[in-house]
Amino acid sequence: MLVSLARTYLRPYAGAVGLLLVLQLLATLASLYLPSLNADIVDNGVTQGDTAYIMRVGGWMLAVSLVQVACAIGAVFLGARAATALGRDVRRDLFDAVQGFSARELGRFGAPSLITRTTNDVQQVMMVVLMTFTIMVMAPIMLVGGVIMALQEDVELSALLLVVVPVLGIAVGLLMWRMVPYFKAMQKRIDAINGVLREQITGLRVIRAFVRERRELARFGTANEALYDTSLNAGKLMALAFPMVMLIMNASSVAVLWFGAQRIDAGQMQVGALMAFLSYLMYILMAVMMSTMMVMMVPRASVAAGRITEVLETETSVTEPAAPVALASLSGGDGPRGEVRFEGVGFRYPGADEPVLHDVTFTAAPGQVTAIIGSTGAGKSTLLNLVPRLFDVTEGRVLLDGVDVRDLTTADLGSTQGLVPQKAFLFSGTVADNLRYGKADATEDEMWEALEVAQARDFVEALPEGLQAPVAQGGTTFSGGQRQRLAIARAVVRRPRVYLFDDSFSALDYSTDARLRAALRPRTQDATVLVVAQRVATIRDADQILVLDHGRIVGRGTHAELLADNETYQEIVSSQMSLEEAA
């Protein structure tokens, strides 16, 4: 996953990556060349007392060092550019992919997961690529180069590598292999303790009300103890790591000196070569350590890459039509009127046993209010979301002025509708920005008018900045009711042909709810209004009420008609109103 993702996204930067590899190769070779030059100083300069030679080789060493640093910095430059560009491109493609998703795919992944994938996962992959570019590609070069140089200095002594390298590799690998489960366990323990704390902080009132502080302390204590034990065990293993690596490296140099001395004594090797050999040994062992750690890092990044690829490979279920019908051609060339018709509509999530909607047929005419009521999970929101194509039907069809909504572009379709979702969501910016979300070129007058209809004029006027008042992300600076009214204003300013209210009045108190409905009536006179509601009071004067139960329409009519002969409706009403109130 990681490799294929990296390969795909690095293709545009192949030239830079190629150059980077060359530079890293040069830099590593230069590093490896230095000890060899030092050996020359010892063997040909020091032992012969040739001062000029020492100076000359010293100058040469300086030049090599300069080449090394130049190449290394060049490589860092190219690496940083390629890796961050990869991050940028993956993020862009992810964002575009998610933008194209329908509510179905979005629901499958969940917004939080998609956010994590677009941000953290990409960051992880990017950092691994960057580390690979700047450090890890050096490891194999250094390993191979070091071995070649070591062989060049003395073949027989190089046999030591056959012992030392595996010993270090196995020791480090073994230690990490033993540590990984601890780290995983530790993450779980941390999550557990954070879970307890989260519960306690959110439930502080309940805990105190039931006087269970002592019990909570004990619960926390257990989690704390578990984390302590695991951290301690992991820490103790970790404690071994650095001293152990040092010991192996140091012991290897002792071995090199011992066996090297015998080769020198036999006249098969020079002292300078021995010293160079020691340096190469250190390079090789460093390379082994880096490779081992890289092997350990890859699985983690692979998971991230897999999560990214999964999103990129998911195709949206809502696609644009090949030959879209023009909006202007609707209603015999008059443009959209707003009649919404469901014909035998069914909707089923992929893999689900039960359809969410089943054989739903009705017409919502312009100038009429069509209300949909039913218990949670009855499919009300799904039904509403089929109109702007947040989902596509799996059976039957949804028509706008007689044209299948799937034959219109989503942009055209959207422009005819004003959706007010269940959760009043505001975008960060200003109040005006949010209203312009509904109508990009709305004038101030239009905005105030919409706010007035939505019963939001008063509190917006009371804000010192008025329309320019800042809105925090998610609209948290406003109360739930205010948010909902602003969301309604956003739809109202649009003057859409079709209003879609998804349980949009629930956060309003009864009197505001009543005033808002009264103000909306003239505004929506010619438009089609679809209202999903929980409260009977909100919809009792609708022209048409559809009672939804388990995805089927089990009743339709006015409040009075349904109250007379629909059992489900009666049940709903009786739970909310007492006898005389219902009447």
Binding site: V180, R205, A209, W258, L579
Partner: protein, 679 residues
Amino acid sequence: MSTERQAPPARPAGPRGGGHGPMGGMGGAPAAKAMDFRGSLRRFAGVMRPERARVLLLTLCGVVSVALTVAGPKILGDATNVIFAGVVGQGLSAAGVPAGTSGEEAAAMLRASGNDAQAGLISSLPDVVSGQGVDFSRLAQILTVVLAVYLGAFLFGWLQARIMTVAVQNTMRRLRDDVEAKLHRIPLSYADKQAKGEILSRVTNDIDNVAQTTTQTLAQLVTSALTVVGVLGMMFWISWVLALVALVTVPLSVVLTMQIAKRSQPQFVAQWAATGRLNAHVEEMFTGHSLVKAYGRQEAAAEKFGAENEALYDASRRSQFISGTMQPSMGFLANLNYVVVAVIGGLRVASGQLSLGDVQAFIQYSRQFTQPLTQIASMMNLLQSGVASAERVFELLDAPEQDPDPAEPRRLEQVRGRVAFEDVSFSYDPEEPLIEHLDLVAEPGQTIAIVGPTGAGKTTLVNLLMRFYEVDSGRITLDGVDAREMTRDDLRSRIGMVLQDTWLFQGTIEENLRYGVRDGARRGGDLTDEEFLAATEATYVDPFVRTLPDGYATVLDDEATALSAGEKQLLTIARAFLADPEILVLDEATSSVDTRTEVLVQQAMNALRANRTSFVIAHRLSTIRDADTIVVMEHGQIVEQGDHETLLAAGGAYARLYESQFSAPVVDEEDVVAGRGAV
């Protein structure tokens, strides 16, 4: 805005507690600056105080380990000298010097023949004898010592790290315990004022960050500092000339590090700012996905994303590049050092002022010297962020605590349940008076319904009754006893509470239901299985729990269990029912509950209310018509008080509220809902 301080540095992705690798500073957020670095550091040292014996011991181990590590190369240099002496000895014999001639004699001969350089070289080596090769017994001796030294360094190093782990983990466990204990002592007025995420972040991320930085810095700082001192000493011992030369690179590396850090720091800040903006935009667009689509704003969203994405790319490319140059630059300085030492050392060996082994040792030392310096530099950053986190934890620990319970609390043997608010005044903010001179009496067994718009002070009454907040003046009495003369625990154990926030903890359903049941302190004696079952049946919990595969043993967690909001509400009612309190507080908001369950919730609440003094915060007027007293609140004041009929007849605030709730054309369909009507 506190957003900047809210997020402690992101945890590096790699395994936790790992050695501080060369990538340090590339993955994490910029170190948040502590406000009072020294003070907080000193205070943290105080937190570590119980571990002082261990800290002392680990420092000792560190000293020994470093000393041995530092001694290694010098002794190894002796080994090189022995080898070299063997080479020279053989060389002398090959050059015609009679076998057995000692080094001094050979040097004298060479000097006589004008070959000063060679003479010097020989005299710098110990025990050169012409014709004699490498002295293996001596070499073996030296190497054995070296091996022993390294083994010792390993053992002490390991010991140090182990003691370290214990000391740090002990401290972290204690710190976590302190924070947990504190959590239960802070007044709710404090908790409510803080964002929940803020507190949570302090007790989780910050402590985590402290633990991690402590593990990474404490041992390393000690070792690195000791190594610098030790290595420097050895370098001067071997050759002060070379040492001075090598030291020249130190200020150079410091300047270089600082220059690079100075340039990369703003880029990192820019990178994290860009990351924050991009993440915020992504979060917003993904959360508001359906709106973006329905309003056809994908293009605008993509455009903004593109701009933020490009900005992030620019900033991270720069920051990664600039910080990435650190490694090669330091490497270059090390190489420079290497070259200079090799050349000057070579010259001095050739002139006999230094032995070859010493040069070799020196090269190793100078490599060891720059490493801990850069480590200390990067650790300072880490330490900054650790101390900043510690400071935030301390802030929480320093938060005010609720007033202690009275020394000699009053205890009610038998509670009848008369609750009276007597001339109670209270406000959250002295600037904005909320409740003023409020009087309200609930006789035993009565139901008091509180209605009014949001912000009228309904929940405040509950807060005061439960003593989550203390009254500013006046008093609240239970059977005539001032609530403040009782312990909080005693008072609260008399009151059962059902809030609209259906808080359940992670555990089985049965554990959750028994949450309020305290052995030995329950009114009706210890809970029997029959009582348990009766209670769950009375509160409509039993039927749906039975349909779950694991029944009462079903584990409730964040997402796995598919309980509806209404079912959760029923569980909280059953929980209060089982606790069997004398007084009840019910906050009945059920907007997210589907209509059928809602009927059950209503009925369960009614069952719960029987024979108990109850305070009901009503959201739906239909449910409270049979309350003994309905209290209408507006702006912290009781504007009306009486039963349903009286208030309706009075035509005041209640009547208006009632009308607004049911303003619709009248339809005559009475008989249809007869029998189902008033629940």
